[in-house]
Symmetry: D2
Subunit: 168 residues, 4 copies
């Protein structure tokens, strides 16, 4: 099925010919007793909301949308994960600050802190996916393949359709 | 795929075991040169937004959602149709009034006037689908089978997923 | 007190040197047992929301704002009146249709039908105030003088300030 | 003029018989070349938005409302000031984090960091005004008297009216 153009979203070549999504590289997890891996989530669709706690578009749009996804789809089918990809204001968006943020905004799904890079301001998972900024919404299908990657706002209608397409 | 409970939406038995959707019974069309039938639209998903022009929930939620659907999905895959199912205030919601309404609200997709019944305030298509009121959103798959019927508000996320599921 | 520019709003000369507001010319009232006149409301601020029932901006913005005004200010200080100024689609926006509209949209404040003109599509009160279209929000002070007239959207902050200024 | 009840807002005794507002006690200023004092702003209405950068109600409602106030009223009449009253998560909401927040959220009006207290988690200005939490909106009239203090959301209509009343 085709969609009409969506200015801000980007579709990597992998969308047409999906390839295995790169594994998450994580320095710390919140809201989960043990670390998660994409490999261990095989069989379910994985929705990754890459955000920064001081990014207005993430707070106003991306994170509420991730919460709606978690509330709409059954956990047996769709897993929602937050990924804190800090690439600016590193001194302000520490894990300590993130913990307070998740508490105040009542984010209950697992949130990973993207592993900082020694060589760059861009953390490692963000680099592996070639993300352009935040918020970025990533869809991975039941087979672990990257199916969609949207930078900026994407509509709920389109996202709902893409999530369903990823379950098949 | 399962969804979590959605208070206001209703799922007919046909959703589990979809049956052929009843044909539209129409007294007049707007925004189309020739009458449409479900039979002639076979091969595409059909989204029917049943509304009344003086129904606040239709004006605030149902119709804008139908417009978003039309803007999101390719016309070759998904057809959006409005159905004016007048079951109250018949003297106020005449075809003449509807024509002015469609013009002012810039509704561009085809809109059918549901055929009045001689025996009841409920028009004929509304009765055939056993609709409970307006707005009601109906999804019909490529094979012409009724896949979902929602009375009241339904989220874009869920609707996007259901539309995609109906294309398969 | 000065305001920063508000694109769509218009300020008649009467705002700087307020003059007596023209009396309403009305063919029919809803939501009141007896006809109202500006003269009889002297001593209170009068807020007039001029609208058409099929005007999207009136339904989405103007009328909800009028309801908020009624809910915010004490009735002893501020009176809210709707004025149905039909200047197009006359055959669709009849008093019968308006009655159904007011019922469905739960408009409880008094609503006047602006008296049609024999010579023009513009009804008589609309002409007397030289309104440019709908929605138009009119503020009349305790002395019956026209203090502000806004065509299109005006912010609640500014309107709140102007209502307070009209009470003095 | 009376207002109808507004659940969340609180009106100190000073509203009926306004008294001089306590002076701000500030550890650091942002967005201003030199420190401000209420005394130096005498002659203008002062609107103080007391907030915490990780308070969702402040980010979604209080701060955007403060921006609208700044955009609506002339600077010669009304001054808007932010006051960062950190009373929880002190380790997350440092001045360094606040600086990044103000940059990302494009807050351009002067923002004061409320002076921490040695004896309490509540900073000093917050204590002097007996604020109950954040967001709190404070209105001070041209004579420097406290005219209104609202904890939680307050409508733009009411706030616009109160700001105008404070100018007189």
């Amino acid at each position: 099925m085709d969609f009409y153009g969506m200015g801000e979203s980007t579709e990597p070549a992998t969308f047409q010919r999906p390839q295995l999504a790169p594994e998450l590289v994580v320095s710390r997890w919140f809201n989960t007793d043990e670390p998660l891996t994409l490999a261990s989530l095989r069989g379910r669709v994985v929705v990754i909301e890459a955000f920064q706690m001081l990014c207005p578009g993430c707070v106003a749009h991306g994170l509420p949308q991730a919460v709606r996804i978690q509330q709409t789809f059954a956990a047996a089918d769709v897993v929602v994960i937050g990924l804190h990809t800090v690439f600016e204001h590193h001194e302000a968006m520490t894990p300590t600050a993130l913990e307070a943020f998740l508490y105040e905004y009542r984010i209950r799904f697992p949130v990973a802190v993207d592993m900082p890079s020694e060589a760059s301001a861009i953390p490692q998972t963000m680099a592996a996916y070639a993300m352009q900024g935040t918020p970025t919404m990533i869809l991975i299908d039941r087979q672990g393949r990257l199916r969609a990657q949207h930078f900026g706002e994407v509509s709920d209608l389109r996202l709902g359709a893409e999530i369903m397409a990823s379950t098949i």
